[in-house]
Amino acid sequence: MEPSLATSVGKMQLDKPAMLASGILGISLDVFNRLYRSGAGAVVTKSLSSEPWEGYPNPTIFSVNGGGWMNAVGLSNPGASNFAKMIEPNVDVPIIVSLVGSIPKDFEMMINEFKNCNVTAFELNLSCPHVAKVGLEVGDDPELVKKIVTTVKNSTTAPVIAKVGLGTTNYLNTVKTAIDSGIDAITAINTVRAMAIDVETQRPILSNKYGGLSGTPIKPIALRCVYEISSKYDIPIIGCGGISTWEDAIEFFLAGASAIQLGSAIGDNWINVFDDINKGVLQYMKQKNYSTIEEMVGLAKKF
């Protein structure tokens, strides 16, 4: 029997396991459609805020000497309300709406904007490393995480995912708080707070000085986090961080992820990366005689 690429993350069902990660390419429904046709199982939107944000001045994204990408885009986005109107016509594409905010009310109001939209899930950005008062600064505050997750869970019937990253508190505590507050799944991890300095002009390259490192250099870190979360808690996990090949995808399944997200790989290999990963995963499943992704999830934990 032909193996299936379908996977489920809790009650969220996906045809294919690789999604577009938040922050990448996510501002037009036409592009979402294109990515879906290219083999993405779902697309996660840019993190939306209650008001439109312009983000930081350029340079905001560049490739790092030695590999990987650095960004401090500053969460530029059209705002939840404008965005909801834009995706209202969507029928086909599984869209996961990423939200960023400082207080529970922000999230509650934003979720309400999407009442006429076909939303597969909401992903709470508790881990952006380069914007004050949101993202990691929220994720590092367990009391706030508890209040936000509880509020969001009361505001929607759609699955709610928390995207965690490496901040100043142990991210596993953030995961635990989110689980205790009713979260449906965890995405791990976000970019890792980092910087780069140009030696000729001797100044930090990003206009924001600090940014987030993504791409292949952070893959082993992300994999470790997925393995840790999956070893410690019984919660569906979406692996994210430096995934660019089908082998990377398999590694994350084996570590305990039921699905994956990718972003930087698009900068390196463009959008055929989804199709490449799908084909490679299928081939591997045939070879190893698996019929579902689920059969592989967490296998590396037995050693």
């Binding site: 390419l25 350029n58 490739s63 885009v73 530029s76 900068g267």
Partner: protein, 270 residues
């Protein structure tokens, strides 16, 4: 070692030429940038100010290239104010190139949209018959007319300037001349870069006549490599799928000629 096009290379500005009161060309030495294809662009870092996409201007000296910039917003004014001896960063080249046909060609450029047109002129064959249309607001904003004539001195050619106020050349919009020209003769290729409305009308005029036409689109850009999504035009990413698109493709795109996205990604009308 081959240079990674995604890494910024620091170059020193060697010469600054005032083209008009609001437009300057900044020359620098860089082999990679001197050899980019017509239509390709670089991401240009003005340290401490911003980074912006710029079409790469030609130089008559080998191993050199330039940026021709009009002071407009913070970033472009920052670049405009760079002086000889100061440093900027460049990465790229990015984007695709014009598909240059042979025979009778029409090039339509407005403002700094003339930059890729000038590089295109360095790639035409001596047997090509080339018409260059230059659009400007007024006489003191006309530039590259002499350069276009110089680059085409061995070709059968015409350089026509149109000014909105009629203070130089023909009075009126270049797009009216485009419409007239495509009705009069059979062009093998039409190429345009400049204000979107100008490109939209040029593409329409040529495409409805069945003439091969390409336009180089300008959008807000952050990464230049297809990650950030800022430059999307419908389902296309200007940086990665373009910046050059042909008439066939553009006639299917509902945003071209009508809307663009601002820094927050909100659609705004042209």
């Amino acid at each position: 070692m081959q240079r990674n096009s995604n890494h910024t290379t620091i170059v020193t500005i060697e010469k600054v030429v005032d083209e008009t009161p609001t437009v300057r060309t900044l020359y620098f030495s860089d082999d990679v940038m001197s050899n980019v294809l017509p239509g390709q662009f670089a991401m240009v870092w003005i340290p401490g100010i911003n980074e912006l996409p710029m079409s790469v201007m030609i130089s008559n000296e080998s191993g050199k290239a330039a940026f021709t910039v009009r002071k407009h917003g913070l970033a472009s004014t920052g670049l405009f104010n760079i002086k000889t001896g100061e440093k900027i960063g460049v990465r790229g080249p990015y984007g695709n190139a014009f598909d240059i046909k042979q025979g009778k060609l029409l090039l339509v450029g407005g403002g700094t949209g003339l930059v890729p047109m000038m590089r295109l002129l360095t790639h035409v064959k001596p047997t090509d018959d080339v018409t260059v249309l230059i659009g400007a607001k007024s006489k003191d904003e006309v530039f590259f007319e002499t350069l276009a004539n110089e680059l085409l001195k061995n070709n059968s050619h015409k350089v026509i300037v149109c000014t909105d106020d009629g203070s130089y050349g023909e009075k009126g919009f270049v797009t009216d001349v485009v419409e007239k020209l495509v009705n009069e003769s059979n062009f093998d290729g039409v190429y345009t870069c400049g204000p979107e409305k100008m490109m939209y009308k040029t593409v329409q005029s040529a495409h409805t006549k069945g003439i091969f036409v390409q336009a180089s689109l300008e959008r807000m850009m952050k990464c230049g490599v297809g990650i950030c999504g800022s430059c999307c035009v419908g389902e296309d990413l200007a940086c990665k799928d373009g910046t050059i698109f042909d008439g066939n493709h553009l006639s299917q795109n509902k945003e071209f000629g009508h809307t663009h996205r601002n820094k927050a990604g909100i659609l705004e009308d042209y």
